[in-house]
């Protein structure tokens, strides 16, 4: 049993040294040139280091080497301080939907459930390299649908995700109050110009609302402080 084991070891032992013809016992000469050795042959061969100091190397950075080490603040060196403060300052939300608030549908569930993982796209690459052409009228005939609502089993995608707080990143698309994924009226998204205009318009609308609100408050304050009104609103004034 034991001899078998040894035989096995012998079988797998390398035929040649991984270091080539070099002996691991004899140290190699220093490439820096600071090491001087005297090799004496004869009855008693020996290697004597006659240089000033054994193992003396050039200090790092002196020979024009890159001085970048862990001693430097690498975050600052690569200009990532902004990213650091961005992620360090606030507590990030766990869910994917907080990162992609505009995405319709439920995106927080694991992708394995409906085989929609990005990993599967990498593992099994889709067919590519073919030119993308618009569909012919004959091909479009395949998309002729029957009127009426969808069968029950296909309606699950219509479910809306639970309401979320509006994040600052939220840029556009959904109207106020309507959570993403909820069916908002159709708009022409194919034209980027109209797309942009719509958002600008929406923004302007919001600005107008705010401005009106501020004006109203100002007016109310003025009325309160003016001696004429004595802090009464017009409706509170006694009838003449």
């Amino acid at each position: 049993m034991m001899s078998d084991q040894f035989r096995k070891v012998e079988q797998y032992s390398p035929k040649s040294s991984p270091r080539g013809a070099r002996s691991p016992v004899v140290p190699r000469q220093d490439s820096s040139g600071t090491l001087k050795t005297t090799i004496s042959l004869g009855k008693n061969p020996s290697i004597v280091h006659s240089g000033p100091f054994y193992l003396m190397k050039e200090p790092p950075g002196s020979a024009g080497e890159c001085d970048l080490t862990g001693a430097t603040n690498l975050m600052a060196y690569y200009g990532l301080e902004h990213s650091y403060s961005k992620f360090n300052g606030k507590k990030l939300k766990e869910s994917l939907s907080s990162f992609l608030p505009n995405l319709p549908g439920i995106v927080d569930g694991p992708g394995q459930e409906d085989n929609s993982t990005l990993g599967s796209v990498i593992a099994k690459r889709p067919i590519g390299g073919k030119e993308l052409l618009p569909l012919t009228s004959a091909q479009l005939a395949g998309f002729r649908l029957h009127p009426g609502p969808l069968p029950e089993q296909y309606r699950y995608v219509s479910a809306t995700p639970p309401k979320r707080h509006k994040s600052k990143h939220k840029k556009h698309k959904h109207k106020d109050g309507a959570p993403p994924g909820q069916d908002t009226p159709l708009q022409d998204s194919s034209n980027p110009d109209t797309y942009e205009k719509k958002h600008k318009k929406q923004k302007r609308h919001e600005d107008d609302k705010e401005r009106k609100k501020r004006k109203k408050e100002k007016k109310r304050k003025k009325q309160k402080h003016s001696p004429e009104h004595g802090g009464l609103t017009p409706s509170q004034h006694p009838a003449p």
């Binding site: 000033p52 100091f53 003396m56 200090p59 080490t69 862990g70 001693a71 603040n73 690498l74 975050m75 990532l80 990213s83 650091y84 992620f87 360090n88 990030l92 939300k93 766990e94 869910s95 994917l96 907080s98 990162f99 505009n102 995405l103 319709p104 995106v107 927080d108 569930g109 694991p110 992708g111 394995q112 993982t117 990005l118 990993g119 990498i122 993308l132 052409l133 618009p134 569909l135 479009l140 998309f143 002729r144 649908l145 029957h146 009127p147 009426g148 609502p149 969808l150 309606r155 995608v157 219509s158 698309k173 069916d183 159709l186 708009q187 998204s189 194919s190 980027p192 797309y195």
Partner: protein, 129 residues
């Protein structure tokens, strides 16, 4: 001029919006909606063409596959970035600590050696200079 990534983001958002609209159309299909649906399907193809055109602009952007794992699990991919930054910072501090310790050790060693071997250390310093 927006960046290639912003362009891609806009195109993808428009594509998603298009799909969302198709879903609304087909969820309760009306016969008069066929031409709109056809138009939307064609714009899907156009959207894919636009995304395909943009691929050359983002070919040099590398995404760690771990980010995909986060997304596939329904987690915020920014958590990965945060984790990487935290780890890098911790490692940076650790290495800096080691380097500083070695520096202190070196100066202490030199100090002690010059007490015991003053001549040799003087030679050593002369060579170093």
């Amino acid at each position: 001029m927006s960046s290639p990534l912003e362009n891609l983001e806009t195109q993808l958002e428009m594509f998603i919006e298009n799909v969302r609209q198709i879903r609304i159309i087909v969820s309760d299909f009306q016969p008069q909606g066929q031409s709109v649906l056809n138009q939307k399907i064609q714009s899907l193809v156009t959207g894919l063409q636009e995304v395909d055109k943009l691929k050359s602009q983002v070919h040099d952007i590398h995404v760690p596959t771990e980010v995909f794992d986060y997304i596939d699990q329904g987690r915020n991919p920014q958590l990965y970035t945060k984790d990487c930054i935290d780890k890098a910072l911790a490692k940076n501090e650790e290495v800096k600590g080691k380097i500083d310790s070695y520096k202190r050790f070196k100066s202490h060693l030199l100090q002690e050696l010059s007490k015991t071997f003053p001549n040799e250390i003087a030679k050593y310093k002369a060579i170093r200079e």
